[in-house]
Symmetry: C2
Subunit: 372 residues, 2 copies
């Protein structure tokens, strides 16, 4: 069986790579790093997810705030249409306005428009240095309110992650490891990278100043690779750890950065009103908050009676804050009946018309994305 | 009459702006700079072109090599479909996988799919410092062969422009100004930017080393704003200056960076074989070479007999080098009969099907992009 898992070419002169969709994201990242190159898109599942899936869902991860998402690195795509045509769209160039950009339409279409068979990526130069700060706070609100100010102070972090205490605790239990300050109400991970260490030292200084202004309990700096990897392991394990607690429903809400305090406050108010526990963590630097709603000891009936209305309220709030339903996970089956909270009828109709144009027999991922 | 030329909002907390399509690009750039923000897309025509047109053609310009093109800065679009529906696609977020990304399909579609009425842009932090190097060479080949090596040496310039001597001369005549080294066979403009001046000084040092290795005649450094503006004025005036020489046909070829020596050598060989003069200049850092073919003193018959075959040969060469027909100007009317050199039949057919889905009555820019 053809596995489509080859890295066909790494073009170190032009900072490009030709890849098949079955390559594991981390394998691709590590291979290009051997050439001093960087594929920055870094989903938490990078050790097991496929590059093709990353395109289908337009994966983001913690570095999107500085480096963008999957679509920002795709120059060209080969894909097979549902009617059996093989299409190569794009070129090995950063600029291209030669007919419609079909690649950009396919990316994020969740496998509904075509089967990706080859990808040409743009790569960038691997930054020489990075430094990671772990910053505990004694209140969620102080923690999350600081986020926008790191940016307005002139810093562009390469990652800025947020976790509330219950997410921290879940990861500690699951991974049998401890955070340096384990009992803080919330924590930020802030990473900076670049080619000049002195510049990063200046960034670290500025970050510390902003964090102190918002009442940070401590500021833990990790500079060596091993220490940074240890801390990131805790962050990467958070999703699975939270999901292992109980039956859950995970939302992938995303709002403008400075609306996160309002989003998280609203989520807590809504979940408390419905008697459901929520655990929030995620990519605070780009406003992408993963809201996990847990069944815990609710009966099936209680859970089923409450969950749909609670999610609708959370999504209505998200939209009212200028955000949307999904930042990087997509709609799939589980969110499709909420799609019309975010999109108008004529917009959904136009998308369905596009789906029909590509796939008149509705054979690719039928029933996904669009409401019943 | 509604002019749709308002900058509706600059959101300095979230680094975003809401803009109508009739805003002049330079007006928008200068407005966001007042807030310490940066809209990097910088077409040479920025003083007269509209943001809406920049979206329609996915404008690039000299900074694409570091900062990307128009599509990389669009978070959301409001547009009117040819059947009269008003659609708001996207959100005020960097990440978004909530249905198909219609905005990315509209961008670069040359006004054939919808009428853009509002744009939400992502902005970035304005770099504090920039430095410009002007580097004359005594051979086109040495000059253009150096380009890929600046990148592999670890530099990411914010602009890297190439001009051959006849383009330099045309600009000097038209603007009544002189280049510091006026008789060189070719010149590079290399700009670097960032927040740490010492880092830029290191970049300048490395650039000089690479340039010397490729036989640069001189290295002229401009650090103060006025001197940089003067040099950039010569570069920005080049397009109009070349076009004022004679009846012309301009191609917007784009290839991978390290294929530019082969492209330019091929263009010279082809134009010489057809007895037609060519003048090349452009955005060497991203492989986007503007090839101007001049009628000069050819008779109408000679020009008409030769031009089509010459262009076909140039485009075939471009495609064979992994490039494509247009990097930032689009296809429009003038290139549409060459489209099938770049795209396969089934790809063109799929694009036409999409056009029909959006515009069943073919009322928006009919006759553009697709071959007769």
């Amino acid at each position: 069986m053809e596995r489509f898992n080859r890295i066909i070419e790494i073009d170190e002169k032009n900072f490009q790579a030709v890849v098949e969709p079955g390559v594991i994201t981390q394998v691709f990242q590590e291979e290009v790093e051997k050439y001093g190159l960087f594929y920055p898109v870094d989903p938490a599942s990078r050790g097991s997810c496929f590059i093709g899936g990353n395109l289908a869902e337009c994966s983001g991860g913690p570095r999107a705030l500085k480096y963008g998402v999957t679509r920002d690195y795709v120059l060209a795509l080969e894909f097979v249409t549902p009617t059996g045509e093989i299409i190569s769209n794009g070129a090995r160039t950063i600029k291209n306005v030669t007919g419609y950009n079909l690649a950009q339409l396919i990316i994020g279409s969740e496998g509904t428009l075509g089967v990706i068979t080859k990808i040409i990526f743009k790569l960038i130069s691997l930054p020489k240095f990075r430094k990671l700060l772990l910053i505990p706070f004694d209140s969620i609100d102080n923690c999350i309110s600081s986020v926008a100010e790191f940016f307005t102070s002139g810093i562009t972090p390469s990652a800025l992650e947020f976790l509330e205490k219950s997410a921290v605790k879940a990861a500690e239990t699951q991974l049998n490891k401890k955070y340096p300050v384990s009992d803080a109400e919330a924590q930020l991970f802030i990473e900076v990278d670049g080619n000049y260490e002195e510049a990063l030292n200046n960034d670290v200084q500025k970050i510390a100043e902003v964090a102190e202004k918002f009442g940070a309990i401590d500021i833990i700096l990790a500079e060596d690779r091993q220490k940074m990897d240890d801390i990131w392991e805790l962050r990467r394990g958070t999703g699975d750890a939270v999901k292992s607690i109980s039956t859950y429903k995970e939302e992938d809400t995303v709002v403008p950065r400075n609306k996160m305090p309002a989003l998280i406050k609203g989520v807590k108010e809504i979940s408390s009103r419905y008697g459901i526990r929520s655990i929030c963590y995620g990519h605070a630097g780009d406003g992408n908050v993963h809201v996990n709603i847990l069944k815990d000891k609710l009966s099936d009936k209680e859970w089923n009676d409450r969950i749909d209305d609670a999610i609708r309220e959370i999504f209505n709030l998200t939209i009212s804050l200028g955000g949307t339903l999904s930042g990087e996970h997509g709609i799939g089956y589980s969110q499709k009946n909420y799609l019309s909270i975010a999109l108008g009828n004529s917009e959904i109709q136009l998308m369905k018309d596009i789906k029909r144009t590509f796939d008149p027999n509705n054979i690719l991922n039928p029933g996904k994305i669009f409401p019943d």
